[in-house]
Symmetry: C2
Subunit: 293 residues, 2 copies
């Protein structure tokens, strides 16, 4: 029986008791306003306000197309039963491939690209490392929806990430439009921490990667956050990106279009925010989900 | 064992064999170009090209709000186990209420409204009657997706509608935006008839209203139709409407927003297109789905 999270020792405690709470964020969003580039002061300010930034061309279209070709090759050749490979709930079709910055030279190279890493360093005000990398496939006609969640809530409770000092960058390898299940974010939601109800079962990650059941924010909390901000869904072509704070609520609907939506998802954590024991009291998740340098 | 559909006797045969086909439409889309109003010649021409028209204010905002209040009252008071009331697959929450033009005076009145009926008469070039009426609720956070389909394929095979001479009008009673699971249509898809594979089991309607399994167009056919046209999702406030041909492919994604999407859905059929025996060889469906005057 895992130890439950407690407000006495953890300001970001969650998954205890039967009620939810909107708690204030205790950490900065932008950690270094004085660092030089690549983001302008206005971009930093917008990111601080909204909890996300749309980056229309983070990598070139050609490079995105090459990465897509490599991603599809991996999708067609990897064993869907590997631990770090996740398939659709209703088929053997591969939905996510984790740890691509370690396992694949093409993806390793883009993950070290200075034009990308420098953005994460600037936001987080320190050196950074990759907490997680993955390719997400959202197949045509059958890509499934993903309910609203804060990644930080999971990373705190299940991975032991102590503070909100991580940033995610989702790089589109395909067109990302209104109809292929784009990432939706709640603008401004990163400023509140939603404590969720319930407890974390051991090995929760095995099911949560397919269907989130624990660490789910209440509908009342989500309604409030949307009323305070708004739902947005930045669109863009191959090479466009969305960067968002680790605590920004996000979700996506199913993909009913004939066009897959594939993206490379990178999570940079500050080296000054190293993982501890999971705050939910469970065993740490595998390193493909949550790297410990 | 129902008799299967045959190309020898039925140009719109479907659900036989193991292969799909894109067959040409054999009926006009606009049946009377000379009728005076309410649609302009340009509107008729656009409808003929695209298979749908967005009508930004078919009923007044105030009237839409009154109808919404009545719809919510019905949703909260009707027994979800009634035959003509359909609940969500995973809960008792009411998702659709059929036959509202017969059972409810408020809805009966709007269904007879000359400003609405005249549009249907103009398109279909004859007097019309209501083949079906229903309120659709797409609840906040949990409204489910509905896969692509042509209504005509079902109405032909399961209800015995002989020709493509019916038109649907979906009137928004709430805001209808990008995030609450709006109706998506494939522009131009009404010009082709997709023969589906497989047979129609008896009493198919009991499951098909929750999860479509038969009469599902193939992914290859859908891909072709989208490549020939495009996916559109007209947006609008309360009182806005989308009118579409009985054979236009349409679908909707789930509603993950905190706002329900509720609409009044009316299907007008030409009096010159009376129902026959179902072309799939099954028993006729109940009259709340398919009225026979």
């Amino acid at each position: 029986m895992p130890q439950t999270s407690s407000l006495d020792t953890d300001p970001y405690a969650s998954r205890f008791g039967n009620s939810w709470e909107l708690a204030p964020r205790l950490d900065p969003v932008v950690w270094d306003w004085d660092a030089s580039g690549p983001l302008s002061r206005q971009q930093l300010s917008d990111f601080e306000d909204r909890g996300y930034s749309a980056l229309p061309q983070l990598v070139s279209t050609n490079r995105a197309r090459s990465l897509l070709a490599e991603a599809r090759y991996l999708q067609s050749t990897l064993d869907p039963n590997l631990d770090h490979v996740i398939s659709e709930p209703t088929s053997q079709e591969i939905r996510s491939i984790f740890r691509v910055h370690q396992d694949n030279e093409y993806f390793a190279k883009v993950c070290r690209d200075e034009s990308i890493v420098a953005v994460a360093r600037q936001i987080l005000g320190s050196d950074v490392y990759l907490h997680q990398s993955r390719i997400n496939f959202k197949p045509a006609f059958q890509g499934k929806e993903f309910f609203w969640h804060s990644d930080f809530e999971t990373w705190h409770m299940e991975d032991g990430m102590p503070r909100m000092r991580a940033v995610s960058i989702s790089i589109s390898l395909t067109e990302n439009d209104e109809f292929n299940g784009p990432l939706m974010l709640v603008s401004g939601s990163h400023k509140s921490y939603v404590r969720c109800v319930g407890e974390t079962p051991d090995e929760h990650f095995r099911s949560s990667l397919k269907n989130q059941e624990y660490g789910v924010p209440s509908r009342e909390a989500l309604h409030l956050l949307v009323e305070q901000g708004e739902i947005v869904a930045p669109k863009g072509g191959p090479g466009s990106a969305v960067m968002f704070d680790c605590n920004t609520m996000h979700a996506s609907v199913g993909n009913l279009s004939p066009y897959p939506r594939t993206n490379l998802f990178l999570v940079f954590n500050s080296v000054e925010n190293p993982l501890e024991a999971p705050f939910g009291g469970t065993e740490p998740r595998p390193t493909f989900l949550s790297y410990r340098p």
